[in-house]
């Protein structure tokens, strides 16, 4: 491409963005898509053009690779933004805030299980596995540790009766039933397992996960799109929020998802 941008180039740039909006489209399956990806990688001017087109539509280009295609993220207030209010729409108004938080929490937990160590998130070749059962267990395990810690500190975390918003998140999650059957024998929708299933189905529809089997309530593997999305954007933005609240500590590269620092059974209390 020369230094002059022609109409055809603008059309191509917009086409690459449009393909990026179709999460199930892959460069490997589409010659035109693969061509555009190659052009993006080799032609700096085209790259700038694509980014400008995307930015104009309220999208950020996170990465364009032959494996994942164009990975786009919606910027705040973009028309393409998926709002958590829409996602958790069916909940009752009274508990809307609480349910929204739980749904978001589950999405963090899914990402944490898919990429347990910082290494895994960083390595482009890593493929994570997510199982509905395990997500629930990991969060409950974390809740239990926080409970142990609170008990060791002899804090009383029982919430004030009039101020439910001050209750700690781990208590809310731990209290929520893991599973419940409705009258007609289905799973109730407001249990943690049902919410996790919903999250994984949603991510699959968005082209971030790929269902492998029904084992353990549903086993999924991650796609490179998901890894890029989490690594380049989601983790950082949530991290910034926590920094703002001042609750972040630094860690070693091996990660902190571990279970061995618990008490031994003979000293365990019931």
């Amino acid at each position: 491409m020369t230094d002059v941008i022609r109409l055809a180039d603008a059309a191509d740039a917009a086409r690459l963005v449009a393909l990026g909006l179709r999460p199930k489209q892959r460069p490997a399956r589409d010659l035109l898509y693969a061509d555009l990806v190659r052009r993006y990688q080799q032609d700096p001017l085209f790259e700038e053009l694509v980014e400008a087109v995307a930015a104009g539509m309220g999208l950020a280009v996170l990465a364009v690779t032959a494996q994942s295609g164009a990975v786009l993220a919606a910027m705040t207030d973009s028309v393409f933004e998926v709002k958590i209010d829409d996602y958790a729409r069916r909940t009752q108004l009274r508990d809307r805030q609480l349910e929204k938080t739980l749904h978001g929490l589950i999405h963090i937990a899914v990402a944490a299980l898919a990429f347990p160590r910082p290494d895994d998130l960083a390595s482009d070749t890593y493929v994570g596995r997510v199982v509905v059962d395990y997500v629930d267990q990991v969060v409950r395990e974390a809740c239990r540790k926080l409970e142990d810690r609170a008990r060791a500190a002899e804090e009383n975390h029982d919430p004030l009766e009039g101020a439910p918003a001050l209750e700690r998140a781990w208590r809310v999650y731990a209290r929520r039933a893991e599973a419940a059957s409705t009258r007609d024998g289905r799973q109730a929708a407001n249990t943690t397992r049902a919410m996790i299933s919903k999250a994984l189905k949603f991510l699959t529809d968005q082209g971030f996960l790929h269902q492998m089997s029904e084992d353990g309530g549903g086993t999924f593997r991650t796609t490179s799109r998901y890894q890029i999305q989490v690594r380049e954007l989601a983790a950082d933005s949530a991290f910034d929020e926590l920094l703002r609240l001042g609750v972040i500590s630094t860690v070693s590269p091996t990660g902190t998802l571990r279970t061995s620092d618990e008490k031994k059974p003979e000293s365990a209390r019931v």
Partner: protein
């Protein structure tokens, strides 16, 4: 109701083992006898309804969290009075590997049974054992049974704690201290099992002796029940031990896999330690910001649905599709098994009946067969079978059906000469049934041996 509730928790606890708990239906069926004892003489369906009601209330179906909340007040550090809420559950619903929902009793519920809040499992178990042994020695079996049941609750509780640890272990091995901590843990658990196994076997021997020596049937029965309980304890320990051995295997495989992962490549956020745990530690009101931020970015770009005017008009003008809330009626197929094809058609049966109507004089089978052959080629076969059947007629059935007569065949030693059949040339005769005396006349004089070979 409260008695049934306690009984429910008891049943769920007993049914709980290492892997799973009890299905609701099983618990209901176990509860029904107890409810029936309380209010005898009611409908079985009503007992079942009561059982389900109690279970539903113990789960607290209908509340969002399926649990209970009690409000209590404390004096805060600043001297002010604060009302706090305490949340607890009694029965918990969980999902098995097969996807069924089953029940487990919570620690709080088990504690209600044991009658001791916040008890150390290990020491409580030792205490229960010592108590049990003493009681058995002194021959007080009813107390011993209570103590043995308590010991079993402890065992279940202990298995529950270990189950959680093992679950956690299987989930993530990466950062576990493989060198000291885990082997220590397993070794301790195994030592514990060995000790328990010895103790329980000794107890078992004692009770078995008590059972065999007891004269009083009631004591014998109770001792036998006690033996069952202790056996159950031993079974649970064996199960626990198998689990412990498997855990080591999982560790080794996982460790091998982990060893070959490469060095860190670039700096990223530790999702678990730096995001999930801090967020869980926040008050629920504040955690919303971080989770929303994460969700917004991880959800990717959603397609925007833009209506096209022509489509929109079509859509608005098309009549609403009527939809039955129940869906299409499912046609009930009428499934009847195909009738076995008759070997002989009804006309043939009629002919045979006419031929075998022999009220006065008995006839030889050979004669009957010859006559039948003139009527129909298939008829001799039916006649031969009927005659064979008549050698030992079902008189009892005939009397029950109020039949007038039965066909009787007697072998008098004459051989049958026939082109199709061989055997004895039976004497065939219709015998009237004298229903008033409940016996058949005439009584057969010849012994009923002989046969027709077809």
């Amino acid at each position: 109701m409260s008695e049934i509730a306690l009984q429910t928790i008891d049943q769920v606890t007993v049914a709980m083992d290492f892997d799973r708990g009890a299905g609701q239906d099983v618990i209901v069926s176990r509860l029904v006898p107890y409810i029936a004892v309380q209010v005898p003489g009611r409908d079985g369906a009503e007992y079942e309804r009561v059982a389900r009601w109690v279970i539903d209330n113990l789960i607290n179906v209908g509340s969002l969290d399926r649990g209970f909340r009690a409000i209590y007040g404390v004096l805060g550090s600043d001297g002010g009075y604060r009302r706090l809420s305490f949340d607890f559950k009694l029965l918990i619903e969980q999902v098995s590997a097969e996807g069924d929902v089953y029940l487990r009793a919570s620690d709080e519920a088990i504690n209600v049974l044991v009658g001791a809040l916040d008890t150390d499992v290990e020491s409580a178990q030792i205490a229960a054992e010592v108590k049990l042994e003493n009681l058995i020695k002194r021959g007080r079996l009813s107390d011993a049974q209570l103590a043995a049941e308590q010991a079993r609750y402890r065992t279940v509780q202990y298995a529950e704690v270990l189950r959680r640890k093992l679950d956690a272990t299987r989930r993530d091995v990466r950062a576990v201290d493989w060198l000291h901590e885990v082997p220590d843990l397993i070794a301790e658990a195994l030592t514990h099992i060995a000790a328990r196994y010895r103790a329980e076997n000794a107890i078992l021997e004692n009770i078995a002796r008590a059972r065999d020596e007891a004269d009083d049937p009631d004591r014998k029965r109770r001792a036998a029940h006690l033996v069952d309980i202790v056996r159950d304890c031993i079974r649970r320990h064996t199960q626990l031990q198998a689990r412990l051995q498997m855990a080591g295997e999982v560790f080794r495989t996982e460790q091998d896999r982990q060893q070959f992962s490469g060095p860190p490549q670039r700096a990223t956020v530790d999702l678990f330690g730096q995001l999930l745990v801090p967020v869980l530690g926040l008050p629920i009101g504040e955690a919303g910001d971080a989770t929303s931020a994460f969700f917004r970015c991880v959800a990717g770009a959603g397609p925007v649905i833009v209506p096209r005017l022509s489509n929109l008009v079509d859509m608005l003008l098309s009549p609403a599709r009527e939809r039955d809330p129940l869906g299409e009626p499912v046609p009930e197929p009428e499934l009847a098994p195909l009738p076995d094809p008759d070997r002989f058609d009804p006309a043939l049966w009629d002919l045979a009946e006419q031929l075998l109507d022999l009220p006065a004089v008995p006839r030889r089978l050979s004669g009957l067969l010859a006559e039948a052959r003139t009527l129909d080629p298939d008829l001799p076969h039916l006649i031969a079978l009927a005659a064979l059947h008549a050698v030992s007629p079902a008189i009892g059935t005939a009397i029950r059906q109020s039949d007038q007569y039965v066909l009787l065949a007697v072998d008098d030693g004459q051989p049958l000469s026939d082109p199709q059949f061989g055997g004895a040339d039976l004497l065939v005769c219709s015998a009237w049934l004298d229903l008033a005396e409940q016996s058949s006349v005439p009584a057969p004089r010849a012994p009923m041996v002989g046969s027709v070979t077809v």
